[in-house]
Symmetry: C2
Subunit: 333 residues, 2 copies
């Protein structure tokens, strides 16, 4: 049996089962955005690790080193954000071909530093190793009040489902980069989508406020596409979901794309496109007004896209007809 | 300027300078075996990350998956040991080709689990990603009393220099594996050296006791060869070192090898061979007896190999003549 025939989620479930923590030192292990362990008085320590590999997660041909550095830190910060946490330290493991120019490394670190500073994260260490291609592995720690951690498992039937920002942009940006190369970052109708793909913003502040104010019952970040990630959240919460396709928030770039690709094509991209790094969360209906107020204060769209149901995941269009989607999102194998 | 022309140590020094911590949240950042940050009451948190890449740090052709898993955890544990710390949680970032057999993953995790359990470390999370080759990145946390952390920077002239275990075995094992393939693990005159290369033991307990009893003034683990690592320790402490070649501890395999390669060849291997993952530490002369007692209690050779000097690093043979060594150890670029 090969990994590509099994799929990432089954592999991870299998690991979670085998390494099931009988240990009180571990509050949450495998199966959420970050691990949760006891910290200083009333606090927990969050930790998460992510990797970007040239040719798999990005291509050096269209990715400026500075943006690669920014993205490597942002996607790990996004996991801390998804728990509602506050970023702390991070470690970087770099793999680089021996003929890498020093300026590439300088710009990579400049990019990492700029995102880290903006979120109060601090480079604590790491290592650099020879590798056949560029790879960047970031492990980041966070902390937060033990009472405020938002897991994937807290969603209950009848609650609302929300996302921050807009959906599908990163996939549209990637498609554009593949077709047009790195010039697509500077010009063209989809350059904001390209920017979102190369330089996603971790929703650290929104995540923290959603948790501090007790607004979110379950939360995760969107890395592999709304439908696949929603399925994971639903499985963790043992619930289902009904998504209203007409409510999916689309950016100006995505609306422009829907004129080219048709409504169905753009909708599919919003439902299945990976790497948006927006927050997906659930909340009871009585939280609608405080959530709207928070969105306004943050200057960030927070859109109610559906409802938690007892079981099954469905998407319906404006007429109530089911929307068919092929592959639900990005499978790593 | 390319990385191969600059060298790992200069790259890391440059990073350490640019990311110099003005921040009180960071007790020690780049430039030691692990980062050190404030933890629970009187404790510090240690963190370190390491990566193993197929074709760079090992070859799947001669490395059983179980031993790869063991080694990936052991080399990170070794960094915790080198501070005198107690292992806590670890995160694993795996890169695997899509046609990887499930049994490979199972054995890899079995190996990681076996080492982790032996040292009280706990798998807290991680991720699995498609990659063009097998790569394993492990980030491990540890904790210890803030007063007991042993840095690289504490060595003073006149102190003794020690190593645990024996030197050069891992390099001999690697050489044997390259010449004979994986069968060298089961038979042949150097199979213990091969085992040490594929399955090194992190000196967690020795490191912790050296720190708890206040025996070591400076400490690090030997990953890139005695001379190169000793140079790093000396630079951090702003001291020099005089090593007595005749005192270098050699295993039975290494003594056998010296009959084939000559005394000079074996000595060079002991001085420059990487990946022994033994502890290198310094201690004042008045600690000789307690260190000897500790070695006895642990059932582990701890050998005095030289003396800390004000500056310069030299190796002398039994007649006092300087020993010339070409490259001091493993440079990553």
């Amino acid at each position: 049996m090969r990994l590509k025939d099994i799929g990432e989620d089954r592999v991870i479930k299998d690991l979670a089962r085998r390494f099931a923590p009988e240990d009180t030192r571990l509050i949450k292990g495998i199966g959420d955005d970050a691990s949760v362990t006891p910290g200083k008085k009333g606090q927990v320590l969050l930790a998460t690790t992510d990797i970007l590999i040239d040719g798999v997660h990005f291509k050096t041909s269209y990715t400026p080193a500075r943006l690669l550095g920014r993205k490597a830190v942002s996607i790990s910060l996004s996991d801390i954000a998804a728990m509602g946490g506050e970023p702390g330290f991070f470690l970087v493991s770099l793999g680089l071909p021996p003929n890498t120019e020093k300026v590439f490394l300088d710009e990579l670190y400049m990019g990492m530093g700029s995102v880290a500073r903006a979120h109060g994260a601090l480079l604590a260490g790491g290592n650099i190793s020879r590798a056949p291609m560029v790879l960047v592995s970031v492990t980041i720690f966070g902390q937060m009040s033990a009472k405020r951690v938002v897991y994937r498992s807290g969603a209950r039937p009848g609650e609302d489902i929300y996302v921050t920002g807009t959906l599908g942009d990163s996939a549209l940006g990637l498609k554009t980069l593949r077709e047009q190369g790195s010039s697509a970052l500077k010009k063209g109708p989809f350059r904001r989508a390209v920017k979102k793909h190369l330089d996603p913003v971790a929703r650290v502040d929104p995540g923290r406020r959603l948790s501090e104010k007790g607004l979110a019952s379950a939360m995760m970040d969107l890395s592999d596409g709304l439908l696949l990630d929603l399925k994971r959240l639903c499985e963790a919460s043992r619930v289902g979901a009904a998504v209203e396709a007409a409510r999916l928030p689309l950016s100006a770039d995505m609306r422009r794309y829907s004129k080219v690709a048709g409504k169905g094509g753009a909708r599919r991209m919003a439902l299945t496109g990976g790497e948006d790094y927006e927050l997906l969360f659930t909340a009871p209906p009585e939280k609608r007004r405080p959530i709207a107020r928070l969105a306004k204060r943050l200057g960030l769209e927070i859109t109610r896209i559906g409802t938690v149901t007892p079981k099954g995941i469905g998407v319906r269009d404006e007429l109530g007809a089911p929307v068919k989607v092929g592959v639900p999102g990005f499978e790593h194998f």
